[in-house]
């Protein structure tokens, strides 16, 4: 059990042992309930066939929500990013989850990601804007540029802003962030 638990992200040998000891103290019914919950969740949750966000239904809740703006797509790496963006309550459009970023070092090329379905969505539907919200790592930048080139013939393509995080002090920002903040400056309203 400890060996299995250790495979979870952020769980080292010590935490795995603590979890295991906790589980062994529960009643057989409780342990059964936990185990069933894992199996059921894995059985029921798949990927939305439209946007590839995690979903218990064939099409996810966000894609089915008719109150959301169908003409704006936000492209992200994975489902965690959808959850993070939803928490801001600022975005009212739809999403497209790539399932990762292009990373030749890890053997991930464009074909391993949900890029083709994205191009199909954008070329076949009336999309006014695609917002690329991909992390600014080397692989993320490559992916942003690659996807951007593919989509530009069909629609307006934007990317999220990079710069000083809110509450961040100028002097604690790293040099690259400061340079980007300076470069990305905008007219004061």
């Amino acid at each position: 059990m400890i060996e299995q638990l250790q495979r979870l992200p952020g769980v080292g040998p010590k935490t795995a042992q603590r979890l295991a000891l906790h589980i062994l103290k529960r009643s057989p019914e409780e342990v059964e309930a936990l185990a069933q919950a894992l199996i059921e969740a894995k059985k029921q949750v798949g990927l939305c066939k439209v946007c590839f966000h995690l979903s218990a239904e064939p099409v996810c809740e966000i894609c089915r929500n008719s109150n959301r703006d169908n003409s704006t797509l936000c492209v992200v790496e994975d489902s965690r990013d959808v959850i993070a963006l939803e928490k801001t309550r600022e975005y009212r459009g739809k999403y497209h989850v790539l399932g990762g970023v292009i990373s030749p070092m890890d053997g991930i090329g464009p074909d391993q990601l949900h890029i083709q379905p994205l191009v199909r969505r954008v070329s076949q539907q009336k999309i006014k804007e695609v917002i690329l919200a991909i992390s600014p790592s080397v692989e993320g930048e490559t992916t942003t540029l690659y996807v951007g080139q593919l989509l530009k013939p069909f629609t307006r393509v934007t990317r999220i802003a990079f710069g000083l995080p809110m509450g961040g002090d100028l002097e604690y920002a790293d040099e690259v962030t400061l340079a980007r903040a300076l470069e990305g400056r905008r007219e004061l309203d």
Copy 2:
């Protein structure tokens, strides 16, 4: 001595004691040299009379540098920000150090800052752009808007970008930063 050392930023009782014990182990000459260095630095370093950056000369090195672009001013809170921005090697204009931000709670109004000299500089010289590089705290925002309003009649006023810091992962960004990154999105080149 411990009491005095504790007044330094980031020095608590324990660090103060460690510093004090270290100083007591030095030779009298070494201690004298350190004490003199403090007195001398305080005596010699004042504020540049043009930009209010720390300077041993009446006018600082940056203001005297004729290779720098005279028509762009970057407005910052304090000298630490000048040092941080200089490290990026991206900015070739001049600076103006406000000496803080407007903070009614701490009794700091516009008159306690170097805002009047800034308005004079901008109104009397040929400044093409003023970049406001002030931290995005509540006080910082107030200061940015206040200074911006004063300068707009004379020149173009911009502010640095706020958004995702470089290397930062989308899912680790706080909600306000993500919302700003989304709001501040720009056309993909």
